[in-house]
């Protein structure tokens, strides 16, 4: 059985690869086609809509209601989200309250500056 987490990840991966966005039926076709033929099975559109609305409420997916069926877009690219995570982990934002225990401690200001540039280029690139 596919868990909700795995399905959310597949949905996001499909949306990240589709700059023009996808409707729920298109998304279903992509996900089924991505499976190995032996494991292939239908995905109920209602299941997908549930997953999409969960992702929408978390702020990762936006919905455009101009057309029917509605089209779904990823709010940020995959690399932008990765950059956001690494920003938090490496505590580049001084006002962060999160005290994450990291394998190697704090970062010197000059290195942080370099990393900030790296993350910025990752965020806008590809």
């Amino acid at each position: 059985m596919i868990t909700l987490g795995v399905l959310e990840r597949s949905v996001m991966n499909a949306l990240w690869e589709s700059p023009d966005g996808l409707s729920a039926p298109e998304l279903g076709e992509r996900l089924v086609a991505a499976e190995a033929p032996a494991k292939r099975r239908e995905l109920a559109t209602t299941t997908l809509l549930t997953v999409l609305s969960r992702l929408e409420s978390k702020g990762f997916v936006s919905r455009s209601r101009a057309t029917r069926p509605h089209r779904y877009h990823a709010v940020n690219s995959r690399s932008e989200h990765t950059a956001e995570l690494m920003h938090e982990v490496l505590q580049l934002a001084p006002d962060r309250d999160d005290a994450l225990a990291r394998f190697v401690g704090s970062v010197s200001p000059t290195e942080a500056e370099t990393l900030r540039r790296l993350l910025a280029s990752r965020g806008t690139g590809n």
Partner: protein
């Protein structure tokens, strides 16, 4: 009671400046990080209680022959009647200061905890979308990022996050060392200690008791996790892993060459790194049992003193 407030004020001053400065410079904490962590917690707790206690006992000096009145004041009836004639302006200010400081400290802890929970919630949701589970290592997830980074996300289901860059540069034993280190953080609830000291530093940023403490505690927590990891892997693997992950990092992998040309990912604080690595390469003798017992006794005494004075007020 005059003696009590002077005593508490002296204790509060000592714990706010000279004691944390001396403790942050001492070398013995590296030989007994668990004991040192306990002492830092005692210093912080006792420091806060003495500050509040000194203000409170000074403010209540006019009522020293009437402890019933003192507890009436404390129980909130202060708002009911006129201000007693024998209480001077200084005493009123002192009492107000005690209330303001108490509220400030509690609020700082509450907001820091709430902000942390909110950020961690979103962080976890993102990690679950962006990373994939690591086979053969439950609770561990791999993130596609070129720099070597490892950290843990505490929670009901704790997660250890490793980047692909980390797995690429470390060998099997070094990777085991990193995982054992992160699991020790989670098992020993280090995030709660770090959170408390973070809130403490946000509340009193200009006091050594708070800013030195946060830094010292962060290092001690790493040393404790290192000690735990050493039970599973040899010291050299752990030390090498720390050095590799902490070194300035240059990406030579063609797969990520599209990103940038001059990417160097963070060099960790050399002071912290050096302390951890040298401790593994040339381990100092652990502190004797008697010395550790003495430190713990001092810690207990530090907390007991202001508590004892505050209890007599009631």
């Amino acid at each position: 009671m005059t003696g009590a407030w002077i005593g508490l004020a002296v204790l509060a001053l000592a714990l706010a400046w000279p004691v944390p400065i001396a403790l942050s410079k001492a070398e013995w904490p590296a030989r007994a990080p668990g004991t040192a962590l306990a002492l830092w917690q005692a210093v912080a707790l006792s420091g806060g209680l003495s500050m509040i206690g000194a203000l409170l006992t000074f403010g209540l000096t006019p009522f020293e022959n009437d402890l019933g009145l003192a507890s009436t004041l404390l129980s909130g009836h202060i708002l009911d009647g006129p201000i007693p004639a024998q209480a001077g302006a200084l005493q009123i200010v002192s009492l107000a200061g005690a209330v303001v400081l108490s509220v400030h400290l509690v609020l700082s802890l509450a907001t820091t905890a709430a902000n942390t929970a909110r950020e961690r919630h979103r962080h976890r949701a993102l990690v679950e979308l962006l990373s994939s589970p690591m086979h053969g290592s439950p609770g561990t997830r791999m993130l596609d990022f070129p720099a070597p980074v490892a950290y843990c996300l505490p929670g009901v289901r704790s997660i250890t996050v490793l980047t692909e860059g980390l797995v690429r540069v470390l060998d099997a034993a070094q990777l085991r060392a990193v995982l054992a280190h992160e699991r020790a953080h989670l098992r020993q609830y280090h995030h709660l200690v770090l959170l408390a000291f973070k809130a403490w530093n946000i509340a009193l940023p200009w006091f050594p008791i708070a800013n030195r403490a946060e830094k010292a505690v962060a290092l001690l927590v790493e040393m404790l996790a290192d000690d735990d990891a050493r039970r599973e892997v040899d010291d050299t693997s752990l030390a090498t892993a720390i050095a590799i992950v902490g070194s300035p990092w240059r990406d030579n992998d063609p797969a990520s060459a599209r990103i940038a040309s001059d990417e160097i990912v963070p060099e960790a604080d050399p002071e912290t790194l050096g302390a951890r690595v040298s401790r593994l390469i040339a381990p100092p003798a652990p502190l004797s049992r008697a010395a550790r017992a003495l430190v713990l006794a001092v810690g207990v005494a530090l907390v007991t003193a202001p508590v004892a004075v505050l209890v007599t007020l009631l």
